[in-house]
């Protein structure tokens, strides 16, 4: 996983609430057995009409949202299905950071496993950013170690992230290799048979 420390980029606004993972990546694209190549299917039914032509009114198809790498959306982003294809497709399309007032639990965790940072801000802060992002020179800087987000025009906020996930993202660690260092503890737990189960 690529480490993330200071991140700079332009943002796109998707002013919709409760965007579910069925919209982020529709089911017909879940049949592949690879992790890569999902970007072209991101928001497929919103981006394209039945003939596969771009819908000009969809947010991400608008000219000012091209070449953006931060997605700003409404509350409860990523709800529904646990499909990790959702962050895979966002990342493959070019989004490394998602900002929203809140995220669905599984989506949030899936993002962090893929070197993406989900940043929860208040409704007002999100609204403030959404109103400004379309300006061509508007850029956001995220300082992950210090947990701050600035726009270079006087807007600065801090955000929460669990220290464990922060370290994982900043160092770009592979979580499984870390857990494998707990092999003894896991074996000891299994031997104690604290849990009743007969499988």
């Amino acid at each position: 996983m690529e480490p993330i420390t200071i991140y700079k980029g332009r943002a796109a606004a998707l002013d919709r609430k409760n965007v579910d993972t069925d919209q982020i990546i529709p089911k017909q694209f879940l049949k592949r057995i690879e992790r890569s190549g999902f970007g072209e299917f991101l928001f497929y039914n919103w981006r394209f009409d039945e003939d596969g032509k771009e819908r000009p009114d969809f947010e991400l198809n608008q000219p000012h949202n091209q070449n953006t790498s931060i997605l700003i959306a409404g509350e409860n982003f990523g709800c529904g299905s646990s499909r990790e294809h959702a962050p895979w497709s966002l990342k493959d399309y070019g989004f490394d950071i998602v900002i929203a007032p809140s995220f669905a639990d599984i989506f949030k965790s899936n993002c962090m496993k893929n070197g993406m940072v989900p940043i929860a801000l208040t409704q007002d802060e999100v609204k403030y950013l959404m109103e400004r992002v379309s300006a061509p020179d508007y850029e956001l800087t995220i300082d992950l170690p210090n947990q701050t987000l600035i726009d270079g025009q006087g807007f600065e906020v801090s955000f929460e992230i669990h220290p464990y996930w922060k370290e994982m993202l900043v160092k770009g660690w592979d979580e499984i290799s870390i857990t494998l260092q707990y092999d003894e503890e896991i074996s000891a737990y299994e031997q104690q048979k604290k849990v009743v189960s007969s499988t």
Binding site: D20, D22, C79, A104, D105, I106, H162, Y164, L180, S197
Partner: protein, 469 residues
């Protein structure tokens, strides 16, 4: 201060506890299916890692499988995904209920059927409806593919302790009101994210009175309220359901387990982060009218109006446009062209019995296409033994093989664009049942009635209702 069942199960599964770290939580059981696992197995292979506990892992094929001729998979990519699961299970020594297996079915239907799901366990699956298994008094939650790989390799997950939410529904449900209506009512009242960051404990008379299958319907949809997991404390209903199932301990050992399981119940002085108390007698049969499960109303109600200001006007506008509905229209005026009885929410034997009872010699309305997709091969066999398949078929329903089918339409079953489907599944998201498909979530009895009338009807006004609950 006492502990809730959620904390009790959690604490028993902590392998490692450190400051500034989530808990390293032991996972008793992982279910696997074809869609969210191939990349996890590939990850293991790339790093030369093994599956730590194949004996605590169980796989099935469900999402992609055709429900007409199951051996004829037209879609090459879907077939490759099923083949990949087969190969992965062979390579890593994992039990698999494949298409030839009499145990095959939707992962959340077969786990409980086989007795793999037991009280007090931590259970995961790369599938958000893993919350279903909470019906047995276990902490069961959906995970992403990276986490699937993590559990395969280590049998653990790093998890921050969730908040707890006690959801108590008291009183008695009215006639014709089912488990599905209870959970749809809760989500419509509190929204699709009221449970975020929480595990729900369902308490109160309504859930105590429910059968295991009804509890599964409720817990299944915990995720639609944003909660990763929801559970019901195990009781005699639970123990008698699991007794004698394939993977459940037998004899004296079983009795010992029962004692252990009983001790899981929440202490009387347990404290929850949130508590909600509702009156079950106020619940009507529910129908979703919008594009998420929170957009639902009683069958005797109406689609909301902009003036009522219940839902953000932009969201309401988008939902009404997609669904092709007018603000304020009565739910019973919504036409129905398709009926789907199936999915991990409502495809078990009791669900099929309720639907069959509603049919009672009547036939599917002209112009309606209706199908029943049993949740598992075992449900299908039992339904056929009871003659339910004949009731459905002679009424004009299609009777299919088991699988996820039109719940997410990854296989060839789909609803055409612009048409309305009364569905016993759990998600009415845009495009879920096919591009442009308009899904309405309902109980099995409401779905069967919609098939007969070609629109939604308040089953409480039908004579048959008395027998349905």
């Amino acid at each position: 201060m006492g502990k809730s069942i959620i904390e009790k199960i959690w604490d028993r599964h902590i392998v490692n506890e450190e400051e500034n770290k989530p808990d390293l939580l032991y996972i008793d059981l992982q279910y696997i299916h074809e869609v969210t696992s191939p990349q996890a197995f590939e990850g293991l292979r790339l790093k030369g890692r093994k599956v730590r506990r194949p004996d605590r892992t169980f796989a099935t094929m469900d999402h992609n499988v055709p429900t007409v001729n199951r051996y004829f998979i037209e879609d090459d990519i879907a077939r490759k995904q099923l083949e990949a699961l087969d190969q992965n299970c062979k390579e890593f020594g994992i039990r698999l209920a494949d298409l030839d297996s009499p145990e095959q079915g939707i992962v959340h239907v077969i786990g409980p059927e086989l007795g793999l799901t037991q009280p007090g366990m931590t259970i995961v699956c790369g599938d958000s409806h893993t919350s279903t298994h909470g019906a047995f008094g276990s902490i069961a939650f959906g995970i992403g593919t990276s986490e699937v790989e993590h559990v395969l390799a280590t049998q653990t997950l790093w998890q921050t302790k969730p908040k707890t939410l006690k959801l108590e529904v008291n009183g008695k449900l009215g006639q014709g009101v089912m488990a599905k209506d209870v959970i749809l009512y809760v989500i419509s009242k509190f929204g699709v994210d009221f449970g975020t960051g929480h595990i729900i404990e369902y308490c109160g008379e309504v859930f105590r009175d429910m059968s295991m299958e009804e509890r599964m319907t409720v817990c299944n949809m915990s995720i639609e309220g944003g909660a990763r997991a929801g559970l019901v404390a195990p009781d005699e209903t639970t123990f008698s359901y699991i007794k004698g199932r394939k993977y459940v301990p037998k004899g004296v050992e079983f009795e010992q387990y029962v004692q252990e399981w009983k001790s899981l119940a929440s202490d009387e002085d347990a404290v929850y982060d949130q508590e909600i108390i509702l009156d079950g007698s106020l619940i009507s049969p529910m129908v979703s009218w919008g594009t998420n499960p929170g957009m639902a109303s009683g069958v005797d109600g109406n689609v909301p109006t902009f003036a009522e200001d219940i839902i953000d006007s932009k969201e309401l506008n988008r939902a009404l446009e997609y669904m092709g509905l007018e603000e304020g229209m009565p739910i019973t005026n919504i036409p129905v062209q398709h009926v789907f009885i199936g999915s991990c929410t409502n495809s078990r034997i009791e669900d099929l019995r309720q639907a069959a009872e509603m049919i009672d010699g009547q036939t599917v309305q002209k112009g309606v296409r209706a199908m029943v997709v049993p949740g598992s091969q075992s449900v299908k066999r039992q339904a056929e033994d009871e003659g339910l398949d004949e009731i459905f078929k002679s009424a004009g329903f299609e009777w299919r093989e088991s699988g996820c089918s039109m719940c997410l339409s990854m296989n060839p079953d789909a609803v055409p664009s612009g048409e309305h489907c009364a569905s016993t599944s759990n998600r009415n998201f845009e495009g879920r049942q096919g591009a442009g498909a308009r899904t309405h979530l309902v109980s099995p009895a409401m779905a069967a009635a919609a098939a007969i009338y070609g629109k939604f009807v308040d089953i409480r006004n039908l004579k048959k209702t008395e027998q349905v609950h």
